[in-house]
Subunit: 400 residues, 2 copies
Amino acid sequence: MAAPDTIFANARLADGRKADVAVTNGTIIGVDPAGQGRHPDAEIIDLQGLLLVPAFVEGHIHLDTSFYGDAWRPHKPCTSGFDVRERVAFQAQNLAAAAPMDVRARSQLDLCIGNGSLTMRSHVMVSADVGLRHVETILAVREEYRDLIDIELVAFPQSGILSSPGTAELMDEAMRLGCGIVGGLDPASFDRDVERHLDAVFGIAERRSAGVDIHLHDGGTLGVFEIEQICARTRALGLQGRVAVSHAYGLGDVSADALSRVAETIAASGVAIMTNAPGDHAFPPVAALRRAGVTVFGGSDNIRDSWWPYGDGDMLSRANIIGYRSGFYEDRELEAAFDVVTEGGARALGLETYGIVPGARADFVTFAAAHVPEAVVAMPRGRTVYRAGKVIARDGRLLG
Amino acid sequence: MAAPDTIFANARLADGRKADVAVTNGTIIGVDPAGQGRHPDAEIIDLQGLLLVPAFVEGHIHLDTSFYGDAWRPHKPCTSGFDVRERVAFQAQNLAAAAPMDVRARSQLDLCIGNGSLTMRSHVMVSADVGLRHVETILAVREEYRDLIDIELVAFPQSGILSSPGTAELMDEAMRLGCGIVGGLDPASFDRDVERHLDAVFGIAERRSAGVDIHLHDGGTLGVFEIEQICARTRALGLQGRVAVSHAYGLGDVSADALSRVAETIAASGVAIMTNAPGDHAFPPVAALRRAGVTVFGGSDNIRDSWWPYGDGDMLSRANIIGYRSGFYEDRELEAAFDVVTEGGARALGLETYGIVPGARADFVTFAAAHVPEAVVAMPRGRTVYRAGKVIARDGRLLG
């Protein structure tokens, strides 16, 4: 074992252990009981019992469309009922008047990093209208932030694939440019053709050896049917562990029996489910899915954009919302909500090493809390964010 | 008009006006357009565009049973389903091991005041088991805090009235000692006799010329029936404007038609509805009730106690939760959520003067936000809390 250059001493870990975390060249090389095996040449950073947890995983965000840090843009409802096309038109109008996309994306990244997320999956719009403009901008911003945060981009057909001719080709090109994941959008309710939509999505995924993450707002049995179809495609292509369904509201609508059947299929197919625990309608039952062996991960989704005004880019407060909305009161339940924004995200995104374990990069967050359940209910501020063992943010603000 | 001793200059008010707020002897005496009529002898406090809003109204809290600031007490679920009696027994066990009640109540008050609540309604347990012990302790703490916060106490029959013989007499005595409001608890599901429970509650209210605030968790048509009975009693005794139903989950369960009928009755009876917007079950539809003319007010309810681990004693984050759970996205909706924790609370509690208006005590909170909708989504920290024109808390901490 190499000699550590830094020891983060007297950390309280998520499992309750009081430990010293030894780091060399930005990688964790040892996690020992506090006070044991401190190398004489290492710099000691005494955390004095602060909770030290892995940096959060922001599993679903839209870096291209937020107005966070820009002028306030009042929400306008659809003229009658909710209509994605009308919303996209409203968004286009808002974006035309907004600060440049790269400026807004940086505001959002600074917010997320300051709160402690150092891995992120962002969907980025691709459509006949916007072409690859959003992807090119966000790819450039990703490059700027590469030392601070790992960002995986999803080529996201916000205006549909069949509904917006040429989108499939643009998505394919977006993958070539650097997107890692193929997106999708409500194959039934938006593109009105489940199979042809999925043909396009999984076709690109197969060609590009890429994963898949599909926005699925469709509710009830329709949503469940589409999830079953996505699971079948996943198994057929051997993509287990590389496919996610975001939102999957339908899972919150169906009976316990129906849920139990589809949950088994989802687990067996290695498909992950992303939720942000929306406020006023059904969403996937986190506990039941986890019990069935499904990977559940979390995301902020939209942050102050044309879809809603909420969002704070803080995955610890997202864990709180997920717990609150799920009726999680017991310690083990609050720990499950925390898992959704940490380990669950790492599993869904296929991170090879993650956590406070030897071999993982020293990406972590420290703050005052006695343990994870308290962290989830109290959402403490005053955090310090470490990237590869170096402080990059304090009290919500990026350094340097 | 008396000369102001202090002018809070360049404040941004909730309605968007940039104003100077003139204060004399702790009372607001003028609200003028910024820069106009500044008296030469007054001390000028330049707020530089900070939002200045009335101090929040914490409309429902339990000062006697929180463990906030005390050791963490893991939540334990009921052995099968939810059972209030089992919960009360768990609570008794927890309380026996906890820090003294006055210490815990102070922690909670410091938290609430630090966040900007300067008016509060707290329920306090009265039962054959605990007698008047809780009431006596909380009355003494109220006295200690009288210069900082106005606290109205509810004699709350946590173990029922009929189910806990002697409770009605104890509640009557609690009113004599200084409680201002008669409480109640699920007349149907807990005491199994709606009319005799309400006889006791409204009997004490009539005798003591007091208001009423009843905990009503009963759902669906049963809850609605009980609300109708409470409304009828309210009208019969001429108690319009002085009766509240807390939780009233049933209002979130029934059809739009049934809701519309009962909302009309509630409005016509001058009965207020309190909600904390719980996370995982139905709750009163805030917008529909407000449209019908019902006063809706908000509260933290339990904060880290034997009922659940959540709660932060912050009515601005409560407005956020109420908005999030209600699907409030538009500016006017976010403003409605804010009204629930400010003006709505003032109406429900029957405050004679409230707000940033001449004649009201200079109780307000300042923080950085462009307007109320942004405040509700961003829940800014860095607040300064003023009581009668003097700073009493900054950044969440009480001064002095």
